[in-house]
C-alpha cells in the first residue's frame, strides 16, 4: 500500500483504505476501483491523497518525473540541493517540498509553462 498524491491518481487504481476527508467524511470505501469520475470528485471535495493497493513509491515518483528531461533534472537537483542544505531532507514535508522544488526548477529550465504540461 502506498499513499499517492491526488495529481498522480489514475483510473483503475484500487483503494487500499477508505478515502476520508479531513472532517471524517468517507468519500469512497476501501477496495473500490478509481474512475476518472471518482478522481474528479476527490478533487472537488479537496481530498489530497489516497492509499493505493499494489503499487510502490518509486513507481509513482518515476511516473511523475517521466516527462522531465534527465539532464535538466540533474542540473535542477544540484541547485535545489544547495538551497536545501540547512534543512533536514529526511523529514517528510521537507522531502516533499524538495521534490516539488526540483520539479518546478526543471520545468523552469525547460521553459515549459504549467499550461502546456496540462494539455
Amino acid at each position: 500500500m502506498t499513499t499517492v498524491n491526488l495529481e498522480n491518481l489514475k483510473s483503475g487504481m484500487i483503494l487500499a483504505s477508505d478515502a476520508v476527508l479531513l472532517n471524517g467524511r468517507i468519500l469512497l470505501r476501501s477496495g473500490a476501483e478509481l474512475s476518472d469520475k471518482s478522481i474528479k470528485m476527490f478533487a472537488s471535495w479537496g481530498l489530497t491523497e489516497a492509499n493505493i493497493e499494489g503499487i510502490s513509491e518509486t513507481e509513482i515518483k518515476s511516473d511523475a518525473m517521466r516527462h522531465l528531461d534527465n539532464e535538466l533534472l540533474a542540473k535542477a537537483e544540484v541547485a535545489v540541493r544547495e538551497m536545501f542544505k540547512f534543512t533536514n531532507i529526511e523529514f517528510p514535508p521537507i522531502t516533499e517540498l524538495y521534490r516539488i522544488c526540483i520539479k518546478e526548477h526543471t520545468e523552469k529550465l525547460a521553459g515549459v509553462s504549467d499550461n502546456e504540461l496540462d494539455s
Binding site: T3, N5, L6, E7, L22, T48, E49, A79, E82, M83, F84, K85, F86, T87, N88, F91, P92, P93, I94, E96, L97, Y98, I100, C101, E104, H105
Partner: protein, 290 residues
C-alpha cells in the same frame, strides 16, 4: 553603542507608528455592543482608507462576492475582524514604503513578505481557520525586523551579508553572530511596542523556530511553515538563498498531511500573482493620495 532588539525597535517605532484609526477600530471590534453600522461609520471617516479598502475587497485576490460598493456592505460581508486586519495591511504597506530602495531591495523584500503571507493564508484555509486574513497579515509582517536592521545598522548589515556570502550560516544565525539577536527578535519587540495583538507578536518573534515557545500556537506554526514554503519556491529572493530549517514540532502542531503541500503550492502560486498585483497597485494608490 551596544544595541538590543528592544532599543533598536524603539528607535523606529517612535518615529513611525500605526494610524489611530486601527486602534479605534480594534476597540470597536472587541466590544460586543457595537454594531456593524458603527464600524462602517468609523472607517468612512477616513475617505482615503475607505477607497483603498473597497479596492482590496473587490480584488481577485480576496475573492469576496463581487460588487461590494460601500464600506457598510464590506463590514457585513467580510466581518469586522477581517476588515480590521485589512486596515492593518494598508498601514504595513505605507510603513514599508517609507524605506528607501538603496537600503534594501524593497521589491524583493515585498515579494518575499507577500509570498509568506499568501502561503500562511492557504495553510490556514486547509487548517479550517475562519479568519484567514489574520494569517496573511502575520506573514506580511514576519520579516519586518530585517528592515529595521538594514536601516539602522548599515555597517553591521554589511558584515552579516559577507558572512552569508561565505555560505556558512542561514541569515538569522549570521545576525545572532554579529549582533547578539536576530530580525525575529527585533520584529517581536517592534510589534509589541506598537501594541499589536499578542498572536501577531508571538508569531513574528518565533518564526524561525516556534518550538522555543512553551506551547506552539497555530499562528506561529503556520507562519513558520509558510516562510519555509515561500523560500523553497524561491518566491521573492534569488534562488541561491537557502531554505530555512523546518521545525518538526511546528509542522506536527498544524497536523496537516504531507500530501496537501503539492496542491497548496499550486494555490499559493495562483494567489501570489493576484496578491502582488493588489499590493503593488495599493502602494500606487496610497502614494498618489499622499
Amino acid at each position: 553603542m551596544n544595541w538590543t532588539a528592544e532599543k533598536l525597535a524603539a528607535e523606529v517605532s517612535s518615529v513611525c507608528s500605526l494610524p489611530t484609526i486601527y486602534f479605534r477600530l480594534n476597540e470597536l471590534v472587541n466590544d460586543i455592543h457595537v454594531s456593524n453600522k458603527d464600524v462602517g461609520a468609523l472607517i468612512s471617516e477616513d475617505a482615503g482608507l475607505s477607497v483603498r479598502l473597497l479596492r482590496m475587497v473587490n480584488s481577485a485576490f480576496f475573492g469576496f462576492p463581487s460588487g461590494i460598493d460601500t464600506i457598510t456592505r464590506a463590514v457585513t460581508v467580510i466581518g469586522t475582524r477581517q476588515l480590521s486586519d485589512l486596515v492593518l495591511m494598508t498601514s504595513v504597506v505605507d510603513m514599508f514604503d517609507g524605506i528607501p530602495n538603496e537600503i534594501a531591495n524593497m521589491e524583493l523584500f515585498w515579494r518575499h513578505s507577500i509570498a509568506t503571507g499568501v502561503s500562511a493564508r492557504v495553510l490556514a484555509n486547509y487548517h479550517r481557520e475562519i479568519n484567514v486574513e489574520r494569517f496573511f497579515v502575520a506573514g506580511l509582517l514576519h520579516d519586518i525586523g530585517r528592515l529595521v536592521i538594514f536601516q539602522k545598522l548599515p555597517e553591521e548589515t554589511t558584515e552579516i551579508l559577507s558572512l552569508l556570502d561565505e555560505k556558512e550560516a542561514p541569515l538569522h544565525v549570521a545576525e545572532k553572530q554579529v549582533l547578539g539577536f536576530d530580525h525575529a527578535d527585533v520584529g517581536r519587540a517592534m510589534l509589541e511596542q506598537w501594541g499589536l495583538p499578542e498572536h501577531l507578536v508571538v508569531a513574528v518573534g518565533a518564526h524561525h523556530q516556534p518550538s522555543v515557545l512553551d506551547e506552539i500556537d497555530v499562528d506561529s506554526a503556520i507562519v513558520h511553515v509558510a516562510d519555509v514554503i515561500a523560500n523553497a519556491m524561491g518566491m521573492g529572493w534569488a534562488t541561491e538563498v537557502h531554505v530555512p530549517g523546518l521545525d518538526e514540532a511546528a509542522w506536527q502542531q498544524i497536523g496537516l498531511p504531507v500530501s496537501i503541500l503539492s496542491p497548496a503550492v499550486e494555490q499559493i502560486k495562483r494567489q501570489y500573482d493576484d496578491a502582488v498585483e493588489l499590493i503593488f497597485s495599493d502602494k500606487a494608490v496610497a502614494s498618489s493620495a499622499a
